[in-house]
Amino acid sequence: MPDLRVRLGRLELKNPVMPAAGTFGYGEEYAPLIDLKRLGAIVTKGISLKPTEGNPPPRVWETTGGIINSIGLHNIGVERFATEKLPFLRQLDVPIIVNFFGATIDEYEEAARRISQLEGVAAIEANLSCPNVKSGGLQFGISAKMVSRITKKILKSANCAVIIKLSSQVANIVEIAKAAAGEGADAITLINAVSAMAIDIERQRPVLGGVTGGLSGPAIKPIALKAVWDVIQEVDIPIIGVGGIMCWKDAVEFLMAGATAIQVGTASFIHPPTMIEVIEGIEAFLQKRGYQKVAQIMGCVHR
């Protein structure tokens, strides 16, 4: 059997496949449907210090090749997460990556400190890229200077691996990724949902309650892949690729572009066992091609 283990800075995973934040709830929701223990890691919904209500409905719209969501980071907050959701996740013995966000740099710092201290949290993923809320991170993710500053603060207050999740909708993604890497982030996640909207022509109004939202699904895969391709050539920390991965072949594309791990989001909504099939598909592909390790195909298109 090929070796699927990958390393994301201080974090070691048994395989490179995990859910994308916000698409897998707090993990427990999918427990009746897939074997969570097989996942490389579990990434939670974005958590904030205090509970967040999210955007008014309607929160989702189907479009060609994707869905536009404006959930708005609705979550139960750190305290309830720690008492109500974390105990279940902990007993799975799968690395837990807690996605988080704040409205200010201080909030990011405090959330990083609090979440990383919780027993069983292997890594935190800072959302500097949510397209759906005014103060949901994207304003911190558009300048290299700001990313550098916030990454430094998060790294200082967190006592676990730190992943920085970035948007591709910036002037220069490479500079921004370099800023996160330069401060010592363990890994970068690329990309978040892409800003989008839809209009109801009968009502002559935007469809979504939040007016605009984030496009996810197969429509954004080429965009995400290109972001990974660009960044890996200039940045020497691991990249987690995410955006429109629907099957194992999509995942292999990201690995070949240079990603060390991948996240599956929209596909789990449509077909809950997707992540398990992606793990099995990567394994079978490596075996068929005679590779011993998944690392052998990582970034192979650049060589």
């Binding site: 897998f24 919904k45 409905p57 994707g66 909504f269």
Partner: protein, 266 residues
């Protein structure tokens, strides 16, 4: 409550129930031994990128034995996914995630019940009517639609409740001309101590809920929302309640009407 199964089903039967209305029967190779009236399924269509998401449909009827379950869905062609289902060849594979949601709770023994159905709301309520007959709760069904061709399962309802069935149509083609909520006012003014269950368009539910408050009757409504995961993970389908946003897929789709805030967010 029964845990949801995610399984490939086979379309085995399709019967026309109206001009653009069909009953689909889908066989799944698992024993789903308990389904509550008002629970639903997500039905996945395998047609690629134009219909990416699975669609929620009330479980209209069900039957299980020996490791097989047949689920019935009542559908009306309103868009591309339902049009696809109306044309899908028998034997086709559908991805089924079911049963989902809470469903209706049983009324107290012997309590009188009024069912208020608007249009396709009958799909969620029909199995409840059947359940109430089994429980021997005196039940009246008020069923409204735009026109008589939108009133489906009429003979099946007569079989269940006989004369305790009244229709309202907006064009007056059948029963009372007007809205089903006009019938509800007439019925509720008789003053009996009854419990209400309703499913239908949002405007109807708002009115039913307001009548329930006015006459101080317990009222349960089943909501329809744009839904994605069906298992409570994505928070797309939330309804606004006095306790904050609640998930239609797992906290609902059936809510106590007095907990809901109606802001036209369907």
């Amino acid at each position: 409550m029964c845990r949801p199964h995610y399984i490939k089903g086979k379309l085995i039967e399709r019967d026309r129930f109206g001009p653009v209305h069909y009953r689909l029967r889908v066989a799944v190779p698992v024993d789903i031994d308990h389904i509550n009236p008002g629970q639903f399924a997500l039905v996945g269509l395998n047609v690629g990128i134009d219909i990416l998401l699975s669609r929620p449909f009330s479980i209209f009827e069900w039957q299980h034995n020996d490791g097989m379950t047949t689920l019935g869905f009542l559908i009306k062609v309103v868009g591309k996914a339902t049009a696809h289902l109306a044309d899908l060849p028998l034997g086709s594979t559908l991805r089924i995630l079911a049963p989902l949601g809470n469903g209706f709770i049983d009324p107290p023994a012997g309590k009188g019940v009024i069912i208020v159905a608007g249009g396709m709301g009958i799909a969620a309520l029909f199995p409840l009517v059947s359940r109430l007959k089994h429980l021997c709760n005196p039940t009246r069904v008020l069923y409204g639609a735009k026109s008589c061709t939108d009133l489906v399962c009429r003979s099946e309802l007569i079989d269940l409740v006989g004369n305790n069935l009244r229709f309202a149509t907006e064009d007056g083609g059948e029963g009372k001309r007007g809205l089903v909520t006009d019938l509800l006012r007439e019925e509720i003014e008789k003053g009996e101590d009854i419990l209400l269950y309703a499913c239908g368009p949002e405007s109807m539910l708002v009115e039913v809920a307001s009548i329930a408050v006015q006459y101080q009757r317990e009222c349960w409504v089943s909501l329809e929302r744009r839904m994605v995961c069906g298992v409570g993970a994505c928070l797309s389908c939330v309804a606004e309640t006095k306790m904050g946003y609640r998930r239609t897929c797992t906290d609902g789709p059936v809510f106590n009407a007095q907990d809901l805030l109606w802001r036209g967010d369907a």
